[in-house]
Amino acid sequence: GRAQVFTTVVDAFLEELVAAGSYQKFGRCYRCFYKLQPQLTRSIYDQFISQLQSSIQEEIQELKSEGNLEGLFNSLDKIVEEAKDREGPAWRPSGIPEQDIHSALVPYLLKHRSYLRQVLRKKEEENRKVAESVLAGRDKIVELQQLIQAHKQAWQ
């Protein structure tokens, strides 16, 4: 995973850096001191290297914990693993927030649409029934009026 690659690459960097700053080079640069104290020069060099390595390793540990790098690397590994089967480039921000936000709204809009359809269907059904009873009511009123009319004529 990424955490392992990160550690390996940093270790490699350190190794090559140490190799570059070899004792021969060190001795050549400090030749005036090396001539007088070769053994001391060696011990100083060895301390230099171990100190450099340990301080860089410390820095790396601090960076890792400060940025939660390992956690991030592991979760990114997982995400990458999950996307393994996807071919082709995935979505990327378009740079137009108004447009990008649409996708976040769509699920809710779809839900809202089906809710509205449901409400509308229910409402139409109810209204159909009420309309039927209104029509029935109208018929009834006409019927009553006719009966009254009949009585009235009978009287007349």
């Binding site: 990008d100 936000i101 976040a104 709204l105």
Partner: protein
Amino acid sequence: FDELIVETGKRRKQWPKKILMHAIQTMKAEQE
């Protein structure tokens, strides 16, 4: 520039949910 990128990334990560909440509240109020 770097901070802008990080800040934008943060907003891009967090704000859609917030905006969605507000959008839902708006639509519900409209519906009521």
